[in-house]
Symmetry: C2
Subunit: 143 residues, 2 copies
Amino acid sequence: MDNLSASLEDYLEIICNLLETSQSVKAVEIAKKLNISRASVSEALMKLAEKDLIIYEGHKGITITPTGLKKAQEVILKHRTLTTFFENTLGLNNTIAEENACKIEHVISDEVFFRIKTFQEYCEKNKKFIEDFKEGHKNTSHE
Amino acid sequence: MDNLSASLEDYLEIICNLLETSQSVKAVEIAKKLNISRASVSEALMKLAEKDLIIYEGHKGITITPTGLKKAQEVILKHRTLTTFFENTLGLNNTIAEENACKIEHVISDEVFFRIKTFQEYCEKNKKFIEDFKEGHKNTSHE
DNA sequence: ACAAATAGTTAGGTTTACCTTACAATCGAT
DNA sequence: ATCGATTGTAAGGTAAACCTAACTATTTGT
C-alpha cells in the first residue's frame, strides 16, 4: 500500500472517469486523453496492475479493482473540491480551476484538503461574503 | 528562460533564505537543510549556475544573481502567501501549513496564486467571518 | 477469411533527481 | 607549513516517467 506517484494517480483518475461512461477502457483512449505515447500508457498500466489497482488484459480493456476505485475516488474528490473552491469561491474560470486542481490534488495533504472542503462548504452558506469578494474581480481577467 | 523544475526552485528558495542571515552560503548547508547528499547539491548548484541564477565558486560559496533573486522572491512570495492562508484563514497549524505551501508553490499558476493572495487579504479585513469558521474547528486536530 | 487498420508490447534511449564511494581541494589549528 | 577535518567533485548507479521505432496481436470491413 505504498503511496502512488502523481503520475499513477492521474492514470487511475482518468480510468475511473472513463469507466463512468463505458464498461471498460482501452489504453489508447488514455494515451489520447493525456497526449502521450501508447508505449508509456502500457508501462503505466502494468505498474497499476502490479499494485492490484486495476485489472489489465491487453485488448480486452481495463477494469478497476475495489482498492483502485477507493484510491481513484479519493483523488477525484480532491479534484472536484479544489475545482469548486477555485471557481465558486475564488471566482476563477473553469479552465484555470481544473488545471490547478489537477496539479494540486497530488501534493496536498489530507488535513489541508479537508479544511478547504469544510471552508468551501462554509462559504456556500455565506453567499454575501463571497459575492462581495468576487465583485472586486469583475474587471479582472480569468473570471 | 525555460521554467525551473520544482527541485531547482526549492534550491533557489533555500539559497535566498540563507542569504538573509549570511553573506554567502555553502553547499553543505543546503545538503543539511534538505537532508540530501553533498554530491546531489553540487550537481543542482551547477545547473543553477549554468542558468545564471546563482554564482557558484566552490569553497568560496554561493551568491545569487539579479535574475535568480527575482525568481526566488516569486517562489518565496507564493510560499508565504499560501502558508498565511492555510494558517490564518483555514486555521491549520504552522507545520502543516508550511509543508503544503512547500509543495503547492511549485505547481500553482500565477492566476490562482494572485487570487488566493487577494482573497487572503480580503479575509484579513473580515475577521468575524473567519473567526466564526475557525470556531467550528476548536475541537478538531491540526489547529 | 483475410487484408488493412487499430491497439498493445518490446527494446533501447533520454532526462531529472537522487544515491554511494572515492578522491581532491581548501580551511584552520597548531 | 603541515596535518586533519571539512567541503566539494567525479564517476558510476538507480528509479520514474516519458520518448521513438519496430514489432506483434487483435479487430473490423468487405
